[in-house]
């Protein structure tokens, strides 16, 4: 018995190491892809020089930015930047990419936290109700909510709310950042889709659990329905829910782009879009690699979390 335990630990260690190597390779693929992609979009010198500038000035700018070096040289420099997490100076802002990134990051986290809170506050209760009252009108209402959440794109939702709450009734400010009122519409517009996905996950997991034998046993031994639902059924939803929330949290920072643009929210999404438009290579590379690293780390932790909580999980593959 003890032998099995030691073997299991060995397997977990091997699994951990393999995942670690995989994550490193993923990061490398990601960095290479974004390095190549930004360079394919065109010449930033054209955007950085005033109209009517001579070719000589452009050559000078390219030289200053290090764009005249051979691609392998640029790539080596970029990889060193990735490893040291210092992405140089932004072309059009003239500030260090890392400082711009960390200036904007709190705004993004604030928006995403509000959106996440909204999606969980709506998705979890609606999912539970939908599963408990399976097939009744409340279930249909919840399903309708899930369907509209999946179907109405965030930017359509954003513009609709803007029309009603800002223009028509002037309850909320149209755009910008400042008071809690500025957070309401962007938060809902962003959290909307994720509320639907949370609802779906909670509902399907709850339905599975509620038809299982041990829930039947709990009912048979006279447990109140409320306790059955919260202690037995909902406890089982927590594991997949935590992993979904973890993934969503990081995905949201990226998905917020269009919502941030509409509400002029100074987060990472609008910064990234601006950087893409200006062909600001260091800024685009920096944001994508840093946000991508966050996602890769989250996925890595979730894999480990699963391996740790669920011993049945297959560790080979």
């Amino acid at each position: 018995m003890f032998g099995i335990y030691i073997q299991r630990r060995k397997v977990i260690r091997a699994y951990f190491l393999r995942r670690l190597v995989y994550s490193a390779i993923t990061l490398f693929v990601l960095a290479t892809t974004i390095f190549g992609l930004v360079r394919l979009t065109g010449d930033p010198a054209i955007l950085l020089t005033p109209e009517g500038a001579t070719e000589l000035e452009r050559v000078q700018i390219r030289e200053d930015l290090g764009l005249n070096d051979a691609l392998p040289v640029q790539f080596a420099r970029f990889i060193r930047e990735v490893v040291t997490l210092d992405f140089g100076t932004s072309f059009h802002l003239g500030q260090s990419v890392t400082s711009v990134y960390f200036d904007r990051l709190p705004n993004s986290i604030l928006l995403v936290t509000v959106a996440m809170a909204f999606s969980l506050a709506l998705g979890i209760p609606a999912g539970i109700i939908s599963a408990v009252y399976n097939g009744r009108w409340m279930d249909f209402a919840a399903k309708g909510l899930a369907l509209t959440g999946m179907s109405i794109p965030g930017f359509v939702m954003a513009l609709t709310m803007m029309f009603f709450f800002s223009v028509k009734f002037s309850w909320l400010p149209t755009f910008g950042i400042g008071t809690w009122k500025h957070l309401v519409m962007p938060g809902i517009a962003l959290g909307w889709y994720f509320a639907a996905s949370t609802l779906r996950l909670v509902r399907s997991t709850m339905l599975d659990v509620l038809s299982s034998d041990y829930v039947k046993l709990a009912r048979l031994k006279g447990m109140t329905e409320q306790r059955v639902i919260m202690r037995h059924a909902f406890a089982n939803v927590l594991i997949p829910l935590i992993s979904l929330t973890g993934v969503n949290f990081v995905v949201m920072i990226n998905a917020a782009t269009i919502v941030e643009v509409i509400f002029v929210w100074p987060g990472l999404g609008s910064l990234l879009l601006e950087a893409v438009g200006e062909r600001d290579f260091p800024l685009v590379q920096g944001i994508v690699v840093m946000s991508g690293t966050l996602i890769i780390i989250t996925n890595f932790l979730i894999d480990l979390f699963y391996a740790w909580v669920d011993p049945r999980i297959r560790l080979t593959r």
Partner: protein, 323 residues
């Protein structure tokens, strides 16, 4: 408890008899047709009957708009209406005219005609973009799953990397590289959205590869290409269809987002996303219909696609895995 039961029992036969009468009437009509085509017509009718009403209706109207746009649109979607140079109000407002019932946009173009033509972009990009993503994903997933080893490991790392790049930014970078045109958008969406197919199909192929019929085909000396095309692909096709049906809505939204940001379908061609962007500034002037029209069009289309996808999933994937 008793009341709804008795209600049901009185309702049920009536409903059933009505349905029966309908069936008799339709089969009576069919009897007049010649005998060979009768069973085909019957089979077709059976197929139509089981389709979900709401989503089929929405998608049917959409496709009808897309195909018959030149016949349905009252005006040219690209050129201004004769004698109009800027905004005109909708029909129910003062100064509006039923000839342009949704009014005209900032260049004097008829909004309703642009909505009808916009259906073309959504249908074409939605279907071909999904197919492009599905084709790439099918090849990658089958190759990864069947060949295994470092090929598999590499393809899966590319999938992981793709999932870590914001899809919108990936699409915008590609569209800046290739130049904006409708077919480039199709290609771009294919390159952006293939990962989900690849990941799930790879998993299916991994288990298929161990099945007896594949092993026997290998023993019988069948080549790899033959095994993949005759034994693997037909067996993952249902899953592929379900994934495709669930991707259509995502692709349509992605196209609308790109057009909204001005990097999608290029300017004079009417697309719902770019119409929304044009209408954005008009929120403050109270011309809300300019925004409502494309918003409703996008919402309904995606709703129809999602409903149809859900129906197809239940039909083709009875175990209800969470794809």
């Amino acid at each position: 408890m008793n009341v709804p039961d008795s209600n049901n029992s009185t309702k049920m036969p009536r409903k059933a008899s009505r349905k029966g009468a309908l069936e008799e009437a339709s089969s009576g009509e069919i009897r007049n047709a010649n005998k060979d085509s009768r069973s085909k017509v019957r089979a077709f009718l059976d197929f139509v009957k089981q389709l979900p009403v709401g989503s089929t209706l929405i998608l049917g109207i959409l496709v009808f708009f897309a195909i018959c746009a030149p016949l349905l649109a009252p005006h040219d979607p690209i050129r201004p209406v004769e004698g109009i140079y800027t905004y005109t109000p909708a029909a129910w407002k003062d100064g509006g005219s039923w000839a342009q019932w949704l009014g005209t946009d900032f260049l004097g173009r008829d909004v309703w005609s642009r909505i009808i033509y916009g259906a073309r972009v959504s249908v074409i990009v939605g279907l071909t973009g999904t197919a492009a993503a599905g084709a790439i994903g099918m090849v990658m997933g089958v190759v990864a799953g069947y060949f295994g080893g470092w090929v598999d490991a590499f393809i899966m790392r590319v999938v992981d990397a793709w999932l870590a790049i914001p899809t919108l930014v990936l699409a915008i970078l590609l569209s800046m590289t290739l130049g904006a045109s409708m077919w480039n958008i199709v290609l771009i969406l294919g390159v952006v959205y293939w990962t989900r197919y690849a990941r799930i199909l790879r998993g299916e192929v991994l288990t298929l590869r161990e099945r007896d019929f594949v092993k026997l085909a290998e023993v019988a000396g069948a080549g790899r290409i033959r095994i993949i095309t005759r034994h693997i692909i037909p067996n993952v096709f249902n899953t592929w269809m379900v994934l495709a049906s669930l991707t259509v809505g995502v692709v349509i939204v992605a196209e609308a987002s790109l057009s909204f940001l001005g990097v999608g379908v290029p300017a004079p061609q009417p697309a719902w996303g770019s119409m929304l962007n044009d209408a954005r500034a008009q929120l403050l002037t109270g011309r809300w219909w300019l925004m409502a029209a494309p918003a409703v069009a996008i919402g309904l289309t995606v709703l129809g696609a999602n409903l149809f996808g859900d129906w197809l999933r239940v039909k083709l994937d009875p175990q209800q895995r969470n794809l």
